[in-house]
């Protein structure tokens, strides 16, 4: 017997983007409720954003204000292009995207994908970074207006808004696509390579740019800017300048490029969004893997950790080591360290010609790389690696309860976490030291480079032990490794900054030693650096462990996502 299906009497009201925006604002507002410190952090974040926005505004408006129309195209093409590049890459490498509205939450609602994408896109536009970008890039409108009057200003304004849409759409599309890719283990290697290539692009670009700067060949520069202006990176930004400089025919074409780019990005996002929604609901059928050879204890310990004692410490190291690989969020961090750790030092030290401006006042007027510059770049890599642990308990989320229930001593806990992370990072750092030393043609420097790396890394472990115990925050339980809670962005940024500054301060003796000790440092660097790093890490675990012992339940509450 067929039961007649009752169509609801009231017509279904269409869902528009407005609903998503209001939902996002409501969720953000509720996140602040009763959490004074979150409001404060949000305000601080907004002020920092405003600071950069105003700086960017005057930078981009400078040609207009100075009345020098030679640089107008340059500033628009490169400034805007950098903005797009930043939106494209920074979420991948550092910040993550704000997933206040997690797409997976909408999976059960009868929404057409079109509506969903439009809505999520509109909601994504409502954020502090977007507003800051809008303020900064309005500088272009001023420039265009100064040269071309109202009509040019109007075109520039349309261009800036389209450009902003390109920025946000590219950030969303890329992180969404990457989240899907990284979740599937088969393509994780591909993802790593892709990230590496993207990061690698920064290097040559910088070298080319700096070389051009030095030659001050403005014509060549303008030619590059003209080309960039015809790519999606520069098209929306340069339309206003074209109008002002009389190339009216270019305006509709460039705006069209921008619109097509936005449409393409949204289409791409829409496709990966679907798999993100489905993937979050079910990661596929659970495959029973054969196994159970040997005891369960033997299973727990990965081969690289096989030398560990089968005790509490060993178990925690083994579990952490497994997690650094199996948890997509952690794995994304490891990949970032590997890529940035290799490319930044190579860039900094190979781009030596470009850095002569800096080093002329400094230690090496020849323009070649120097022990100090190398030590500085090693310092950066070391602290970047360690800062990954700034929210190490946040990775665990509520699962950390198991350790609280078992009453694990804080010092043991922190030492185990450091050891497990170092199983991955120390080999990477060794590779960094060797590769960079070979690339810059100074193989004898390997020793003190590795010393500086280990020293800063150890100092960073100590600093981040404290940060992770005192400033932990919860991560959303989604499978998107780039997702963060709204509001956590500012926390994360500030804590990361704090950790990096503190680590850098502790690591500076290695740079000073490299400057003062000369050839002796070639031999002393490694043993002293390693001793310094290991000592700092152990001291950090000792002191922070004490704090952890007193705060275990509080820490658990901090890392447990609010539901």
């Amino acid at each position: 017997m067929a039961v007649p299906v009752n169509v609801p009497a009231s017509p279904v009201r269409p869902v528009s983007a407005r609903h998503f925006v209001r939902l996002k604002l409501r969720v953000m507002g509720n996140n602040f409720r009763g959490q004074g410190w979150r409001v404060a952090l949000f305000l601080v974040g907004s002020l920092v954003g405003l600071w950069f926005a105003v700086g960017g505004f005057f930078g981009l408006a400078a040609p207009g204000l100075a009345g020098d129309d030679r640089y107008a195209l340059l500033v628009a093409a490169f400034g805007g292009g950098l903005a797009v590049l930043g939106w494209l890459l920074l979420p991948l490498v550092f910040f993550g995207v704000d997933e206040t509205l997690d797409p997976a939450r909408f999976a059960l609602l009868p929404l057409p994908r079109r509506t969903l994408v439009k809505g999520l896109f509109a909601a994504a536009l409502v954020s502090v970074p977007t507003l800051a970008m809008l303020v900064a890039l309005s500088g272009l409108v001023v420039t265009a207006g100064m040269f071309g009057g109202w009509s040019a200003a109007l075109v520039a304004a349309v261009g800036v808004i389209l450009g902003l849409l390109v920025c946000v759409a590219s950030a969303r599309a890329v992180t969404s696509a990457f989240a899907t890719m990284l979740r599937s283990r088969r393509v994780r290697d591909l993802a790593a390579v892709l990230l590496a290539v993207l990061a690698a692009l920064l290097g040559p670009l910088q070298i080319v740019g700096l070389a051009a700067l030095q030659d001050a060949d403005w014509d060549a520069f303008t030619r590059v800017a003209t080309v960039v202006g015809w790519t999606p990176f520069g098209a929306p930004w340069t339309a206003g300048i074209d109008m002002a400089q009389g190339r009216v025919w270019a305006v509709p074409l460039k705006l069209l490029i921008a619109v097509v780019t936005i449409a393409a990005l949204l289409a791409w996002w829409s496709r990966s969004l679907e798999s993100a929604m489905v993937g979050a609901a079910s990661a596929g059928p659970a495959r029973a893997k054969p196994g159970l050879t040997g005891g369960v204890v033997a299973q727990l310990f990965p081969r690289a950790a096989g030398w560990l004692q089968r005790d509490r410490f060993g178990a925690m190291v083994a579990r952490e080591a497994r997690y650094w690989w199996r948890d997509a969020r952690r794995r994304a961090n490891l990949i970032t360290i590997a890529v940035v750790g290799l490319f930044v030092p190579v860039m900094v030290n190979l781009g030596g010609q470009g850095f002569t401006i800096d080093s002329e006042q400094g230690f090496n007027p020849v323009g070649e790389t120097s022990p100090v510059l190398v030590s500085l770049s090693m310092l950066f890599v070391g602290l970047l690696a360690a800062v990954t642990l700034a929210n190490q308990f946040g990775f665990d989320g509520s699962a950390y309860a198991a350790n609280v229930v078992a009453g694990v001593p804080g010092r043991l806990e922190l030492r185990a976490r450091m050891t497990a992370f170092s199983l991955y990072v120390l080999p990477m750092l060794a590779v960094v030291a060797v590769v960079v030393a070979l690339v810059i043609g100074e193989p004898t420097w390997i020793g003190f480079m590795a010393g500086a790396l280990v020293a800063t890394y150890g100092a960073g472990l100590a600093v981040n032990s404290f940060i992770s115990v005192l400033g932990a925050y919860s991560l959303p339980e989604t499978s998107n490794p780039f997702a963060m809670n709204s509001g956590a962005g500012v926390v994360k940024g500030l804590l990361t900054l704090l950790a990096m500054v503190a680590t850098g301060a502790i690591g500076v003796p290695m740079v000073i030693a490299a400057a003062l000790l000369g050839d002796a440092w070639l031999w002393l660097g490694l043993p002293l650096g390693v001793a310094y790093g290991v000592g700092a890490a152990l001291l950090g675990a000792y002191l922070a462990g004490d704090v952890l012992d007193r705060r275990q339940p509080e820490l658990l509450a901090m890392v447990t996502p609010r539901r």
């Binding site: 009752n6 009763g34 990661a283 659970a286 495959r287 029973a288 893997k289 054969p290 196994g291 159970l292 005891g295 369960v296 204890v297 033997a298 299973q299 727990l300 089968r310 005790d311 509490r312 060993g314 178990a315 925690m316 083994a318 579990r319 497994r322 997690y323 199996r326 948890d327 665990d396 989320g397 509520s398 699962a399 309860a401 198991a402 350790n403 609280v404 229930v405 078992a406 009453g407 694990v408 339980e477 339940p553 509080e554 658990l556 509450a557 447990t560 539901r563």
Partner: protein, 283 residues
């Protein structure tokens, strides 16, 4: 068929290994004068909401204790404070005479906990997770191997092999959580909603194991809002609503000559639909 098979497994092996686990040194705890769990004036406030407003509770050793309450009554908050997961604003908790908040190491050794709504380290396989919990409790690796194998076998999780716990079904997750709580042979087992989202087969298995655990001298405290299970299993019951213990005592004392559900609904003050509302449901 499946149930019979599983029960057979238990009667065959479970009783045996349970006695082997609880050696003579733990007998003192079972028969000692201390209650298995004692709570005094436990209170917790979240922002403006008072979640638990002063709970006193004595769980006699060897009892099967059901903590009943509607959603949001404060069951999870109370149990979290009792086992050291959530610091109370006021009050204290003792496990077999050891203060959970001033002497956590001693207390936590006697305690097995299965929290609800808390993730396991779910990117480990079931076996790996058990090994982790065992070693974390300072157990001998050989003992961990042997007990884990038995638990996986009894709980019918051995087939899952190296599947990660994150890919387990809800019932399997409950079972592996129970196994983690049991592994080190605790004297008191605190379980938050052990029967939530569990299929009847797994529920029967969990019930069977818990009954044997209590028969062997252990004490179980669990929270639930499923009257039928509580009525079947528990020797003692406490009804918690709005952060306060409303009724407490043995099952017979609380229930009187009525059904537990009647008492519960009356105490909690629920309502039943009169039929006037929701008319559109029956179109």
């Amino acid at each position: 068929m499946r149930v019979a098979y599983a029960s057979g497994m238990i009667s065959g092996s479970f009783a045996g290994w349970w006695e082997r686990w609880s050696g003579p040194d733990t007998v003192g705890y079972m028969t000692g004068e201390h209650p298995a769990l004692a709570l005094r004036g436990l209170a917790k406030r979240f922002d403006s909401k008072i979640a638990v407003a002063g709970v006193d509770l004595d769980v006699p050793a060897g009892s099967f204790y059901g903590l009943l309450g509607p959603n949001g009554a404060g069951k999870t908050t109370t149990l979290s404070m009792a086992v050291g997961l959530l610091r109370p604003d006021a009050g204290s908790a003792w496990v077999l005479g050891r203060d959970v908040w001033t002497d956590p190491v001693e207390a936590k050794q006697l305690l097995g906990v299965m929290p609800d709504g808390v993730r396991l380290f779910d990117r480990l396989s079931g076996g790996e997770l058990l090994a982790y919990h065992g070693l974390l409790r300072g157990m001998d690796p050989a003992v961990v191997d042997q007990r884990a194998a038995e638990l996986l076998d009894v709980l019918a999780l051995a087939d899952a092999g190296r599947t990660l716990v994150v890919d387990y079904s809800a019932g399997m997750k409950k079972k592996i959580g129970l196994a983690c709580a049991l592994l080190h042979g605790p004297r008191l087992l605190v379980l938050d909603e052990p029967f939530e989202a569990v299929d009847p087969v797994s529920a029967a298995l969990i019930r069977d194991i818990l009954q044997r655990y209590v028969a062997g001298g252990g004490t179980v405290v669990f929270s639930s809002h499923v009257m039928e299970v509580v009525q079947r299993l528990c020797s003692h019951v406490a009804i918690l609503a709005e952060g306060i213990i409303k009724r407490v005592g043995t099952l017979e004392q609380v229930r009187g000559d009525r059904s537990l559900e009647e008492v519960f609904v009356e105490v909690v003050g629920g309502r039943t639909a009169t039929g006037e509302e929701l008319a559109w449901l029956s179109r």
